[in-house]
């Protein structure tokens, strides 16, 4: 790539790469130092104290101070590395508040990407440079893992769970994407490209691939087509919870516990409705797990996020 080539053996393509490469080379240096040190000492001893060579072979009785030294010193070094690593790890776990969310659904053996604007792609992910991107990921079948070496990011993608990772791409280009959790026959083919674009080029790409319907609008269409509105709508005859503005709200469950209606809660309420029953309602909701794909559920979540409490949301709203 550019500049200090040896320092970044891999493309230095995200804000994450430099601090990680610093830790990497520090660890390589530490390991090399210890390994070379021990090898040299072993070698010197093997020469100096080989059989038949005259040498001082008096053995000191007291070994405790030496033992304590080489117990304590490695321990302190390890704790230093631990703290250093932890600060980087903490950052990798907390996406900034202004991060843009893109949705990823993994299935044997492809990556399906849904942008909030409704754009969809398979085995490629277009992202703008310089903008923090948060990927919300789930799997349609087995466990997969999303790995982009150029960004130094990796996260397993689980069925019926949402996992996330985030990065800020810093350099335009195409970077390989791999699946790193063994997922069956074509595991080694389950790859693709992450395409980092300058913000304007990215905006143009979004326009060119505009489907006319945002993810939330796709969700609204599903909400009607799959019959959700039949029970959860304003004029429904069935006694079912009102879902307008549900996202982020506190929900009281029949077993007395309290949960926050986050992505996973909404997902499970659709796919595994018996898991958590809302207090005051009969457990009559059927499971949609055979009927909706994980991508559909993501669209429904996007739709529910767009609704406001009280007011009927614009069911007909499509992006103009």
């Amino acid at each position: 790539m550019n500049g200090d080539g040896w320092f970044h053996l891999l493309p230095n393509a995200s804000a994450n790469a430099r601090p990680l490469d610093e830790l990497w080379w520090a660890m390589v240096g530490l390991c090399a130092l210890v390994a070379v040190g021990v090898f040299v000492v072993m070698f010197v001893f093997c020469i100096r104290y080989r059989k038949g060579r005259p040498a001082n072979r008096h053995i000191a009785k007291e070994t405790l101070p030496v033992e304590l030294t080489w117990t304590t010193v490695p321990f302190l070094i390890f704790m230093g590395v631990f703290v250093w690593s932890l600060t980087l790890y903490a950052r990798s776990r907390t996406p900034p508040a202004n991060a843009e969310t893109i949705y990823v659904v993994a299935k044997q053996w492809m990556w399906k990407v849904q942008h909030p604007g409704g754009q969809r792609e398979i085995d490629t992910l277009h992202v703008p440079m310089g903008v923090p991107i948060r990927l919300m990921m789930t799997s349609q079948d087995v466990i997969h893992s999303f790995f982009v070496p150029a960004f130094r990011v990796k996260q397993d993608v689980l069925p019926d769970r949402y996992t996330q990772l985030w990065f800020t791409a810093t350099e335009a280009g195409d970077y390989p994407l791999y699946c790193t959790q063994y997922c069956g026959l074509d595991h080694s083919k389950m790859g693709g490209q992450v395409i980092v674009m300058a913000p304007r080029a990215y905006a143009r790409w979004l326009d060119q691939n505009d489907t006319g319907t945002s993810l939330a609008a796709q969700g609204a269409a599903l909400f009607r087509a799959k019959g959700c509105s039949g029970c959860h709508g304003a004029n429904a005859s069935v006694h079912a919870p009102d879902l307008d503005g549900i996202y982020g709200r506190i929900v009281h469950l029949a077993d007395g516990s309290i949960v926050v209606a986050d992505d996973r809660y909404i997902h499970d309420s659709i796919m595994l409705p018996d898991k958590q029953i809302v207090a005051g309602y009969a457990p009559v909701m059927p499971s949609f797990s055979g009927e909706l794909s994980e991508g559909d559920v993501l669209a429904l979540i996007a739709y529910l996020k767009s609704t406001k409490p009280g007011a009927q949301p614009a069911h007909e709203s499509t992006r103009q």
């Binding site: 053996l9 390994a35 932890l86 769970r161």
Partner: protein, 551 residues
């Protein structure tokens, strides 16, 4: 102690008879309860399994010479690496040192006539053979494509291969491990001869004891986990599959709760072997004996608490990640102590470089490189890019092949004269040990680089930019294969033509060197003399060897 320990006079033994010639005929072997004969049975069995696992490894390396896969289809490749993993882990590495060298030496080293439960010992071998043959038959006829880790929900709901059958085979074999561990624990507690106190035990015995505790406590968890897989696959009870109401991460927790301690089942015995060889050829007592004991026990205990470091990117909570990370760094401390103490044992010694010593020194170097790269993987931030790449493959092969296999072969060479009564060609043995060291590094060092560059593991085909390093690795593997074949030839020759070894060809300390080679059926013709451990500053009870390989 009690009546089963040695009595000074053993009138029923005729001096020229050893445990081979005591009885003859196939049945006398298949029905034997002599720990030494059972050790030989194990050695033959695991050698066959090692060859099978090695052939699978060779097929993997040949396939990876070309980016699109040079030899196997994706389906066959997936079944081949599963075969390699299952066979090498459960049918070679876990039984390797304990079931062969441990079985043979543990009773002799503590001055006992046999293990505490000789018939149980034979039963363990039968369970092992039945489980092993059944598993391998299922792996060859149809195969399994899940990897040796059987991750759910792939293994329970998606794989159309013989998962259940192989799981049953591994389950059965697990009981062989549990029973061996139980046998060793009871033997160490109850059958030490008078005067053989805990801190006079050779470190090899301590290692066997520590590993037995791990075997007895960890293996049942594997049995439970495998049973739950069967229950989910057959009866659709929702345990791991979210679609049935299960938790997909639960399997990984349970699996690694067994499989991480299993790593220590593989490495603790290796540490024990090396702790015998280095003092012998440095002609001085081991440096920091008690620290070495505490380090073994410490590794065995903390080894149960670090399983989560296999799951840093699996979707575990940040708190769990933090705890498992710090514990993984802590367990590196006793390993570091051991490396430093082996090195310090060389200081002011009288070092000679027979083949066992070359293996032992090679072990220290390779184990250290495997351990140091383990530190990188213990740091969650670095584990994120490195996890599930060839970096991890290189790391654990340095520990398991560079460490355990080198130590196993070192131990085989060290105790060969005792076990067979004969010497082997020292020159060939040294050549093989050195060739193995270089072949090993050439095979696996490039894989560290491949992993850092992002090549994922378990890939049948890979992007072309990784080809050069893969070719280098495969070339190294062919050297390694030759280095493994050479000992088969000269050791085979030694069995029939080797010079008589005498009781103590290395001038070593320890009770096993005070008896005849090969030992008689009851292990000792005369009551052995208990010295402190590694008494290289005292004369050997049987006298130093007049001739032999050390000359």
């Amino acid at each position: 102690m009690n009546a089963t320990t040695l009595t000074p006079d053993l009138p029923e033994l005729e001096p020229p008879r050893n445990f081979y010639t005591h009885k003859s005929g196939l049945l006398s072997w298949l029905l034997t309860t002599d720990h030494k004969r059972i050790a030989i049975l194990y050695a033959i069995t695991i050698t066959l399994f090692f060859i099978m696992g090695g052939v699978a490894a060779a097929m993997i390396r040949i396939n990876l010479v070309e980016p699109q896969g040079a030899l196997l289809s994706a389906e066959t490749y997936n079944k081949t690496f599963t075969f390699h993993g299952v066979v090498m882990v459960w049918f070679f590495l876990i039984p390797s040192i304990p079931a062969t060298l441990g079985n043979f030496l543990l009773p002799i080293m503590i001055g006992a006539r046999d293990l505490a439960f000789p018939r149980l010992n034979l039963a363990s071998w039968y369970l092992f053979v039945i489980g092993g043959c059944f598993t391998i038959a299922c792996l060859l006829l149809g195969g399994v494509d899940t990897g040796w880790t059987f991750y759910t929900p792939f293994s329970t709901m998606f794989s159309n291969t013989n998962v259940i059958l192989v799981v049953v085979g591994v389950f059965v074999t697990g009981f062989s491990t549990i029973l061996t561990g139980l046998n060793f624990i009871v033997t160490t507690h109850k059958l030490r001869m008078p005067g053989m106190s805990w801190f006079k035990l050779p470190l090899f015995v301590w290692a066997m004891y520590a590993v037995s505790v791990v075997m007895v406590l960890a293996t049942p968890v594997l049995a439970m986990t495998l049973s739950l897989i069967g229950l989910e696959r057959i009866a659709h009870v929702g345990i791991f599959d979210p679609a049935l109401g299960g938790d997909p991460l639960l399997f990984q927790h349970m699996f690694w709760f067994y499989s991480h301690p299993a790593v220590y089942i593989m490495i603790l015995p290796a540490m024990g072997v090396v702790s015998e060889i280095i003092p012998c050829f440095a002609r001085r007592k081991i440096f920091g004996y008690k620290f070495m004991v505490y380090a073994l026990v410490g590794i065995a205990v903390v080894g149960f608490l670090v399983w989560g470091h296999h799951m840093f990117v699996a979707g575990m909570s940040a708190t769990a990640t933090l705890v498992f990370s710090i514990l993984s760094f802590i367990i590196a401390v006793p390993s570091a102590i051991k490396v430093f103490n082996w090195t310090a044992t060389l200081r002011r010694g009288r070092i000679s470089f027979e083949a066992p010593m070359l293996y032992a020194l090679g072990f220290v170097g390779l184990f250290m490189l495997g351990g140091l790269t383990g530190l990188m993987l213990a740091a969650p931030a670095l584990d994120i890019p490195l996890h599930a790449t060839y970096f991890v493959i290189a790391h654990f092969h340095y520990v398991m092949v560079g460490g355990s296999v080198m130590a196993y072969l070192g131990g085989i060479h060290y105790w060969w004269p005792k076990i067979t009564g004969r010497l082997y060609s020292e020159a060939w043995a040294r050549f093989a040990a050195i060739l193995m060291f270089f072949g090993f590094n050439m095979t696996f060092f490039p894989q560290y680089v491949l992993g850092y560059l992002g090549m994922p593991r378990r890939y049948h085909a890979y992007p072309p930019q990784f080809q050069t390093l893969n070719i280098l690795s495969s070339a190294g593997a062919s050297i390694l294969a030759v280095a493994y074949l050479i000992p088969v030839i000269y050791l085979g020759w030694s069995l029939f033509r080797g010079a008589r070894a005498g009781n103590n060809p290395w001038g070593a300390r320890g009770l096993e060197w005070q008896t005849t080679s090969p030992p008689p059926k009851g292990n000792f013709l005369e009551r052995p003399v208990v010295q402190k451990a590694y008494a290289y500053d005292e004369p050997a009870p049987g006298g130093e060897p007049a001739t032999g390989a050390t000359a």
